[in-house]
Structure formats: C-alpha cells, structure tokens
C-alpha cells in the first residue's frame, strides 16, 4: 500500500469524516427499547452502499432489529467483520455532562452513547475502507461484513440467523473464512494496544417474584407475603457475600485453565492499582489481587444484579407492601458453562430452595468463545499494530465482556478471531459520558488500512 496517500486522504477529509461519525451518534438506536433501530440500520446500509458494497438489510424475526449484511472486494481470501449498530440505553440521563445523542467534543474526546460501543469502531472501519478505495484502488481480498442490531440485548436472534445463512459465512466450496475482525478492542490503562481472542459467555435473565394479588397497605406485613422480600431471599441463595455462586453444580462446569492459557494470562499486564483508583475502591471483591485477580476476571463465572425494582421508588415514604418485584441478573460464562445449562441449573436451584414461585425470564445469552492466539489473523493485526502504534500489542486470552463470537467462529468452521478497536480503558461503555479519544479514532483508521495491507500478505 501507499501509506502516504492513504494518510493524506484521511487528513484532507478529517472534518467531513468526523461529521459522518457524528451523524451515526445522533441517531439513537437502543435495542432494549427499539428506539431508532430501523433508522440506524438504514443509515448504516446507505453508508456501506456508498463505498460500493453490495448491501442487504436482512430480517431476523418479526419486529426484531434486522442484520445489515455487506460484501465488498474480490478474492478467495475472505475477511469477516463483525459490528453492531445498536447501543445501550442512555440512562441515568442526569449523569451525562452533554446529552447522550448530541455528540459533543470536549478536551479532544467525542462524547455520546455509542461513541465507543460500537459506532466508533464501525465508522473507523468504514472510513478506512473509503480511504483505501480512494487511494489504493480495489481491496486485496473479499470482505463480508455482518452488522447486527441486538448485541446490547444479548443477540437473541443472531445465532439462528447465522444457522439460516451458513453458506454466506463460508467460502463457496464450504471452507471456513480466513479471519474475523471483531467489533471491539483498543487500549488498556497504560495505553498498550490489546488484541483479544475470546470472550466470556453470558446468560441474562429477569427474576420475577410475586406475593399477594395487589399492593397492600404495609400494616398487613405480619401476615401477607411480600414480593420484595421473596426476591431478596431468592437472590441471597444465588450468591452470598463471599462472592461464591451457590447454584448447585455450577462450578462443575468451570474447567481449570490449561498451562498455555495460564501463561497467556500471566503475560497480560494487569494494572490493578489504576483500576481500583478508577473505580474508587480500595480492594477487589474478596480481596483478590495479582494473577489471581486477572484469572478470576477472565476465567471465573459471575452473577451480577444489573437492576432491582419493586414497590415505591419515588421520593419519601409510601407504606406499601409490594405485590411484584423484579431483578435483572447477568451471568458471565466460561467455556462449557452454556446459557442453556445456567437456565436449567438456576431453575433447579430456586426450586430446591423453596423459590419455585420465582419466575425466570430468559432475555438473551451466548456461549463463551476462545480462538487461536497465534492465527494468521492475529499475526496480521500484530504487524499492523507495530507499524501504526510502534508497539508489540498485548495478547489477551479473552475479554471479560461477551458477544456472539461462538456463532461467528467455532460454529462456522473455526474462523480465527481478533478483537482490535479504538476504545481506551476509561471509555465508559454502557455508562454515562461514554466517549472516544479523537486521536484514537484518527489512528484507528490508519490501523485498519495497514491491517488490510497485512492481512493480504
């Protein structure tokens, strides 16, 4: 590639491209509520078509967000790119310093819901390909690009979609694709570029407790069952203050790390004190630290209360005995501990502990995935990082986050995956004041250009 013309194009078009980035951020696309989803899918499809890609908006089921599917470039070698166009809900709104869907630049950063997760990565890749086509000619291989709209609610329909369109996700003769560039990635606390080759799985549920038929005056509490108490007690059987998950049989499905996996984790930097400081805590849960903390983060399952709701939540007092109570709980999963297993074990556990009245609603999930840390895909990304960032990237066994990686790697014949993106450690994905450092976005476009060059070799 001619790096000079590529870089010059990005610089010359910087303002217009940044405005394009902002257009993506102005469009809400909240999978949890459906807000703006179809508009966002159309915007993404239009933008990809403007690159010359063949683009389709392909339904998943009924009214669920569709998949945007694009193909561009020619050749046997094929790169799969995975992104998502949906974002997390912006709440709590009062903690945003600028409105979540009005992209705002402050101190060299761009703030908005989705600025990082995942519109930042998506536009970086679109803009890099635009610059390649404008300065280098045709792409040196084929790109297949899957952009879904339900990642933030657990990709409930993606696996079935992949099953239905398996032929799209293989070469014409059935061989697997050559690599997959994943949706997220970026820099750690110390500014080191990180390549990640796996994800934890997830199983996201709502637990619904009920008591009496309708809310009662709380003076009846000596005799009337209280849904909020039922929920608290049921939750208390799932995990206790020692942080150990108490679901019977749960840890039977947690395999030990292999020596190779442990070696990869041991080589990963883990900026313990910085993390604690950023979170405002003095120690991690259970007091764990060092390699044990890193192993726990990457290779132990979790049970997290993401939300609680019952009865009177307004200002002041209301002496009410609530008839209903709901908890949202996410379980992060390690290899072998599948969402299906968790649902089954959890149901049996609640029944065994006297909580068969507590209903489990499954909201979404995916399996954990681990991919080869030394694949040609990873090697290309390593060389690109050396050329653009001047550093040997950190290789991470997996991310504590989740995603439908299993469906887009192991399930389609074993496609090697690499996560490489533009986020930094304090990017505040899923939280108020989500943002991207603009320099990371500028460099990120150059990284994608060079990655194309390296993956073509």
């Amino acid at each position: 590639m001619n790096q000079e013309t590529f870089d010059a194009y990005l610089l010359a078009h910087r303002e217009r491209l940044l405005e394009d980035y902002k257009d993506f951020l102005r469009q809400p696309s909240v999978a949890a509520t459906g807000e703006g989803i179809l508009e966002m899918a159309a915007l993404v499809a239009r933008r990809l078509a403007s690159l010359g890609a063949e683009v389709q908006i392909v339904p998943t089921v009924e009214d669920a967000p569709p998949v945007v599917w694009a193909e561009i470039g020619e050749g046997d070698k094929t790169l799969l790119i995975y992104n998502h166009y949906d974002v997390q809900p912006p709440e709590p709104l009062e903690l945003w310093e600028s409105p979540p869907f009005e992209p705002t630049i402050r101190d060299g950063r761009i703030y908005a819901r989705g600025a990082s997760d995942d519109k930042g990565e998506l536009v970086t890749r679109i803009h890099a390909i635009e610059a390649w086509l404008a300065t280098q000619g045709k792409l040196p291989f084929k790109i297949k690009w899957l952009i879904e709209g339900e990642e933030e609610i657990g990709s409930p329909h993606l696996h079935a979609w992949v099953e239905r369109h398996q032929d799209w996700l293989r070469k014409p003769d059935g061989r697997p694709l050559d690599g997959c560039l994943w949706e997220f990635g970026g820099f750690d606390e110390k500014g080191r570029f990180v390549l990640t080759m796996g994800v934890k799985g997830i199983c996201y549920v709502e637990l619904h407790a009920k008591g009496v038929d309708h809310d009662l005056h709380s003076s009846q509490a000596a005799l009337a069952p209280n849904a909020a108490w039922r929920l608290v007690w049921a939750l208390g059987t799932i995990k206790d203050a020692s942080e150990r998950i108490l679901i019977e049989g749960y840890y039977d499905h947690v395999r030990p790390l292999t020596p190779q996996e442990e070696a990869v984790i041991a080589q990963m930097p883990f900026e313990e004190e910085e993390i604690k400081q950023k979170w405002g805590i003095r120690e991690f849960v259970t007091g764990v630290s060092g390699l044990e903390a890193a192993k726990r983060l990457l290779f132990q399952p979790t049970a997290t209360i993401c939300g609680l709701s019952s009865g009177w939540e307004g200002q002041g007092t209301k002496t009410v005995l609530p008839a209903r109570a709901v908890a949202k709980v996410d379980f992060r999963l390690v290899p072998n501990l599948t969402p299906e297993l968790v649902l089954d074990l959890l149901r049996k556990h609640l029944d065994r502990h006297g909580f068969s009245d507590v209903e489990i609603k499954f909201l979404g999930g995916y399996r954990a995935a681990l991919s080869d840390v030394n694949s040609p895909m990873v090697k290309a990304a390593e060389r690109a990082a050396q050329r653009v960032y001047g550093q040997q990237p950190v290789k991470a066994l997996l991310s504590p986050g989740s995603g439908p990686m299993y469906s887009l790697s192991e399930f389609i014949g074993g496609v090697p995956v690499v996560c490489a993106g533009i986020a930094h450690a304090d990017t505040r994905a899923h939280a108020p004041n989500e943002h991207i450092i603009l320099q990371n976005y500028y460099d990120g476009m150059r990284f994608i250009g060079v990655l194309i060059d390296e993956f073509a070799r």
Copy 2:
C-alpha cells in the same frame, strides 16, 4: 338531639355535600412529593371557617406541610379530633380504573386517592357538624381539631409541634382533654363496625448501598463490588425466609400480651379465609392461623420492604453493574419498641454484620400507642354505633396500622382515644382504586351527629 331534623338536613343537602367531598378529592395533596399540600391546607381551613370555627394554619418547620388547627363550640368538656389532609402517592397510575384525582362514582362507591384515607373521614365529620349546627343549635361541648399534612410520610414534625403547643392540647387549668376521635376506622370484612383503641408504631428508613464510584460495564463483576448485591445481602441479614427479624436485641423489647389484652384480641373476629381470598394467597406467612395470626398481626413487630431500586429498571437488558442501590423499609412497632431504639439496633446490627457501608436514612416514625378500651370516649362511640348501625361494635385492642397517637394521647396527659370511621375492609387505602361505599359515608355523618349527642352526656 332531634335526630329527625338532623337526618332530614343531610338528605336535603346530599348532592351539595357530595360535591364538597369531591372538591376535597380533586385537590391532590401528596406529602411524599409536596404536590398540592398548601392548596389542600387552605381548602380545609376555608371549609372549617365556614362552619364558624376559629381556624389557624400553623407552620411545622420551614417548608414542611403546616397543621390546620380549628376550635369550635364552648364548654369544659373537650373533644380532640385528629385527621390528616395529605394522601399517599397515587402510583402505580396504570392500575387505576379512573384517574386518582378525578373522583368517580361507580356502583355506589366513590373512587379517588384519599376517598378513604383520610379525606372521607374528614368530610364526614365536617358535614355532620354542619348539620348539627343547622338543626340542633350550638355544639354541646368544645371541639379542638388538629388536621396535619404529613401523616402519610410518618408525621415527622407533629410531635415537636405538639410539644410546642401543649397548652392548646390541655384544658386551661392543665387537665387533659376528655377524649380523642382518631382519623380512621370503619367496618371489617363481615360489615361489623369496629372501634379501635391503639396503633402500632412505625420506623421508616431508606437503606443506601454503594459500590464503585460510577456504574460499570457488568463484565467487571468478577472484581468490582456491586451495590445491588450489597443491599440484597444487607437486607438478608435483617429478616430471613422464616419471617423472624434477625436484628440482635430486637425481640428483647417486645413484651408479652397481658391476659386482658389477649382476651380483647380473642374476642375480635378475625375473618381469616376472607382475608386470604382477598389477597389471593392460600396461607399467611409462616403458615400461622387463628388466634396466633391475629396476635401476630397486632402484637408482633414487622420489617417490610416497601420499595427496591437499583441499576437498569427499564425494558429489556442493560449489562450494567450498579454503583448505587436503595431499599425503603418500614418497621411496624409494638409498645416499648420505639423508632429511636430501632434505628440504634439496626445500625449496630448492620455494622456487626459487615455492612457499615450501608447508610440508614430515617424518613419518619412514631411510637406504638394503647388506650383504655373502656373509657367514656369509647362508651359514647359504642352507644352511637348501637343507635346508628344497630350493632354492638367490635372493640379492637389496636390497629396494625400506625399514626401519631402517642403524641395525642399518652403524651398530653392520657387522653382516651377511639378510632371510628367509614372505611370498609376492601377500601384499598394506599393502593390503586381506593374508594368509599357511599352508604358508609351517608351513615357516617349520622354516626358523628349521634356521637356528639352521646359524648355530651
């Protein structure tokens, strides 16, 4: 009294008086939020003044709802009346069949927030006194009337107000007033008229748990403390599924019933099956039944989660690790177990169990109160019930509900109290579709007229 002219007046003016009742209900007066409080105090004061009472709107503290104080009639014998002009919040709004502040008559019932608690009783008394003055001449004794605006949030400023105005709440020579007509009361499941002579106390708190500084992506859950889990675990130490309150020392302050008290409870009807059916349950908590259930309801303390709030409470999923979590908890109290004691024991309990990080915010409370079940005040109410309802009323030792009765009986020299009102068992106080059966309101005005007559004897 001339019962005939009294009754004829009520019948002749029925429509106008009902419209007056509706005016009270149309005016929101939510102590928890402050909505409409001052407007409601002014409306009550105007209406009392129209009876010829001397009325004052007397501040409590700063911006808190004021007390409406009225005096009417002459004589040494003095009746204290206690009501409140505030109501519970109307939420959840979607469960109301007609809007909470648009009084609506359906099937002979009047529906609105406050229709029962406590505007129903308040207007019944106002209308009865109007009819007395119009048909019988002057009142046969003096009435002192205290109508506060913070009962539904635990009367946080009433006791101090009573302390400040103690001379108003005694006779000129310091002797105690002769009786107190309490704000609530009415009919049980079987239509029996009930006189109640005591209340449970209450201590209403918020528990605030915190974890990390700001909401995190839930993938960090293996290491980051979670406020929602902290709250669930802290709550789990307060009461377990056996319904026993686990706060150390708590039951040391629960005295056994005296044989006399137990005898009063044993004579009270307790329509167990009807209650269960109405609540939609098959058994009371712990499976308690019969006299044990009645004693538990009236003479055991409770710990009730009235509300839970943390993290993502919207539709669908958000993979967030919440930095904050709040529970609203009300403790119903028996004699000797004061709000101050509960706060002290709860703080020590949480500290002892490793939850010194969980903050307790006291939102309001009052002591339990028990009054003589055979006082002249009670006897007058019994005779009035026989004359108006043709039945010997049930005498209840106390109500499982709460109120500032201690401040207006024992604290001011031992004023005997009786609760006598117009509610029925399914009146839905504090819940959606609160209502009063209109016939109970019509009869209730006659009861008050006859009670004036009987109390004068």
